[in-house]
Amino acid sequence: MTFDEHLPDQRLLLDMEGELSPQDAKLVRDHLAGCWKCRARRQDLEHAISGFVRVYQQEFGAELPPAGPRALLKAQLAQLSSTSSYASWFSVPRALTAAALCGLLLFGLLLVRSITQPPKTPVVSIPDSRLTPGATLLVSRPAVCAQENIKNKAVPVALQRKVFEEYGIAGADPRAYEVDYLVTPALGGADDIHNLWPHSYSATVWNAQAKDALEDRLRQLVCDGNMDLAEAQREIASNWIAAYKKYFRTDNPLELQ
C-alpha cells in the first residue's frame, strides 16, 4: 500500500492510537516524514483529543464519597456470597451438623463462663437513650457538607471517664471501649456528653466500623440532597443498627476491611 496522496484522518488516527499493523504503521511514518501537511493535520487531531479530554473531565468528573457506596456494595456482596455456588455447595447437612455442634459448644462455654466469671466489661452495641439521646449543633446542610475533614475528633479523657461513670462501668477496662459519638460531627453531632457512649470493641457484629459505614452513607445521602440533615440525625440517634439495616438493605453488618 502506498500513499501518493495525503493521509486520511482515519488512517492518521489509527496510527496515533497504535491500531495499525506494523507494516501499515511504517507506511504512515514514511509518508509523514516527507509530508508537512499530514504532520500538521496529525497535530490538529492531537489537539482535538486533548481539548476534548479536558472538557470531558470537567463536565463529567464526578467522584464517589469515600466509603458509603463501597460499604453498600460490600454489604450486598456479603449477602450474595452467602448464596453463591461455593456457599450452596458448602451448605450440605454436614455443614449444618458442624454448625450445630459449634453452637452447642459455644453455648456451653458461655454458660460456664457466666456462672464462674461475671463479665467485667459489659458489651454495649447500642447506647442507652436516656443517657445518650444524641445532641446536635445548629448547622445547615451546606455547612455540614462543606466540611472536608470528616473524621471524628478524639474525646478528651476526662469526658470519657464521665461517660463510663454514667454508664455504670467506671471499673471496666477502658481499652475495651471506644467512646463514640452517637450523631457523628460529620452530620452535625455535638461534643456533648449526651451525644457520647461507650461502644464495645468486643461488639464484633455491630461494631464501630459498621457505624462508620452508616455515617458515610447517611452523609452521602444528605450531601446529595436525598435526605434532610435532621432526618439523618434522627435516624442515627434513634437506633443506628436499625438505620444501618434500612440504608444498607441488609440484616447483617459487614466487615469493612
Binding site: 482535538a48 470531558y56 453463591s84
Partner: protein, 188 residues
Amino acid sequence: MSSRLTVSTVLPGLRATPATDGNQLAEVVVTFFDQLRDPMLRYLSSFGLTPPDREEILQEVFLSLFQHLDRGKSQDNIRGWLFRVAHNLALKRRYGTRRDLEVQADSGAEDLAIDPAPNPEDQMVNDQMRQRLLAVVDALPEQDRRCLFLRAEGLRYREIAGILDMSLGSVSISLARSLARIARSAER
C-alpha cells in the same frame, strides 16, 4: 491502566470457578470497584443520569460482575464487560432529564474554567473555545458521542466495538469523524 484487566491481575493466582469461595470473589469485585468506579461514574454521567441513579447502576453492575464470576463465565477483559453492562443499564435508565452537553449559564460555569486563574481576556477565549467544543460534541450522533466518551476513558477500539455492538471499522470511522469536527471547531 491495563486494558486486559482480569481476575488474576487483581488477585494473582486466582481464576474464578463455580467452586471459588464467595468471599474471595467479593474481594475481587470490590477491587475492581475501587479501580474502575471513577471512570465508570464519569461515563454514566455522560448519559445525563442523576447521582443516585448513577450510583444505583454502579452497584447493579458490580453485583452482576459477582454473579458473572460466580457462574464461572468469561474472565477476559473485565473492564470491557463492566462498561458494556453499565452502558446497557444506563440506556435503560435514561430518562427525559438528560444532561446534554449544554453550556450552563449558571454559577457552575465559572468553576469549570480551564485555567485556574486566567486573566479576563484569556478566560473569555477559554470559555468560547469550551462552548464551541461542547456544542460540537452535543451535535454529534449518539453513537459517535459514546465512542468518544469510551475512548476518553481509555477503552481500546476492540472494547468499544464490543460495548456498543459496532464493527471495529465503524469505531475508527466514528472517532475520526468526531475528532475532525472538533478540530474544525478549534480552527474557527
